[in-house]
Amino acid sequence: MSGPDLDPLDFDAPRFTIRKPAVRYDQQGDASDAERSAAAVRAFVRDMSRTAATYMESCIRCGHCAEACHFYLASGDPAHTPIWKLEPFRQAYRREAGPFRWLYRKLNLAPEPAARELREWQELLYDSCSMCGRCTLACPMGIDIAGLVAQARHGMFAAGLVPHELHAVAERAEREGSPLGATPKVLKERIEWLCDEHAVEIPLDLPRAEVLVTLSSIEIMKYPKSIVATARILKHLGVSWTLRSEGYEATNFGLFSGNADWQRDMSLRVINAALACGARTLLLPECGHAYGAMRWQGANMYGKPLPFRVLHVTEFLADAVRGGRLKLKPLAGSITFHDPCQVSRRGGATQAPREVLAALGAELREMPAAGNANWCCGGGGGVVTLHRADEHRYRAFEIKMKQVEATGAQRLATSCSNCRLTFDDGQAHYKWDHRIESLLELVAEQLPT
């Protein structure tokens, strides 16, 4: 079993995750293969909603999704075709929930996915899918393959077949409240240091506030200037806000790893913190998957509509720009923007960063296939945490590098700290001469004095 003592975090490399395990443990618990297979199938069937069943029935095996997938293009391996990553899920569907299940079972046309197959599929479901959803754009049937991959991961978790690193950080997040060791104590120390160092006020644990600010542990541990930027902008806008030590971590490794209970726990920590301080807005940090987890799944974890609005920080900034409350000093030169998949393509907030960039007055040079069709950096879905996925991920990142270089822009920005982490890692790996910046930090730097 992986555990915190066996899996120390590595803060020396450009990419923050646990240190490369000397011995990998890509399965958890000591269940037999038959038990793992049965557990996976039970979880698969639990997830077979009307939507999932419709998708399972509709695929025409046209293979168009392959061309839209950076991991397939990087390897050329047909097994990396997005829809193929769902094969065990499809098998379980046909056998246990489909309209002709009796026929499939009787004639054994769709055998129960064996633990051996699930082990083989672990690489396809975790290492080579960032759940970016680009494949859905190419699918003539409109199948949400990324959504199905998230569901298939539930079965993998139930079977105890989660990759070592991802399980380790998810388990740490559940136990400590942060996947990267940004515990409440660490957060408090960081805030004290940032307040001293940057002469800003960062309120923690105020009993009441209009806005509850949440952070990504990547920001806390690697990009703390983002916290300073948030504080400066909110002060400039005159917003009453706070961080709360019982719910500040916006990342959700329960979602990535496939543990719906952990996902709920992690979401509820933040939701309860917002309720405790009577916040009217829950502000999500520059983090893509945090947006998907809270904006679109948070209320479902809570079991009813949330009594506050949930905004990504770029939506919040765009709102302020639109309302005339945020005017910025012009940013010289040209810039290109990397859309985080979960905020733009899958989240629906593609225009918000562009409104902010327009307020910055820089010349925006869009990448080829920008916005909704943007290529993923390759680090989402927990992929960036996995050492064994590095080589494949770096090759996929080459697509991103070409996309950026095609713009000839002087600067490169994004609004997701996980993308930033992936870019930093890719930059170090390729000794690339492009450095990615945070849109939030750029805005803070251009605040009028």
Partner: protein, 205 residues
């Protein structure tokens, strides 16, 4: 029809999940309809296998024209439903049949030669191909003269060939609910679902 109805009944009978998130947009029906039509066009911003997609357009169009534009097919439908419409000229039908047959052959070659398609393909894909091709081929065997309704026909069509043609059509109809050919109906359900869900979020489709 019964088979297809059963398949849809089971699929749509699966539990639906309530979504409590605050919608970004509320025009879900319009979004679903938009998606049904938008997905008929090549995707924007995403490269797909262009030749395969063009070929799919061609053989679908050919099949649709042959199925619903050829005079004997219209008479056949009219006899059972009382609903008829003007037929397309025979030469158009010959071209449409040719396009459909050649397109299907290209699709099969593509499926057998492309590594991705080969991996994805199973019995359903090949059998479905065969049951679509058979009525086309048996139908072509029947059209050795311009179509004339039975009473005016100088020489009746070969009853044996006609029987084979009708049997091949029945095979297609029997198989339709079980295999991928059901996408003729499921395409609307799937696109509707995604269209409504993604419109709710404002996500890209």
């Amino acid at each position: 029809m019964l088979g297809l109805a059963w398949r849809l009944y089971v699929v749509l009978g699966r539990p639906a999940r309530a979504d409590y998130s605050e919608p970004r947009r509320s025009d879900l029906v319009a979004g679903a309809m938009r998606t049904i039509f938008a997905k008929m066009l090549p995707p924007r911003g995403v490269k797909v296998r262009g030749v395969a997609m063009a070929n799919a357009y061609l053989y679908h169009a050919g099949l649709a024209l042959v199925a619903f534009g050829f005079a004997p097919h219209i008479r056949f439908i009219e006899r059972y439903t009382g609903i008829g419409w003007p037929a397309l000229p025979d030469p158009v039908m010959y071209v449409a049949s040719g396009v459909a047959i050649v397109g299907l052959v290209i699709a099969l070659i593509d499926r057998l030669s492309d590594r991705v398609l080969r991996l994805l393909s199973g019995f359903d894909d090949y059998f479905s191909w065969a049951v679509v091709m058979l009525p086309l081929l048996t139908g072509m065997a029947l059209i050795d003269r311009p179509y004339q309704p039975a009473p005016q026909a100088a020489t009746p069509v070969s009853p044996g060939l006609l029987a084979i043609h009708l049997l091949s059509l029945e095979l297609l109809l029997v198989w339709l609910p079980f295999g991928k050919l059901a996408h003729a109906a499921l395409v609307f359900v799937s696109r509707w679902r995604t269209g409504a869900d993604f419109t709710r979020k404002g996500a890209a489709i």
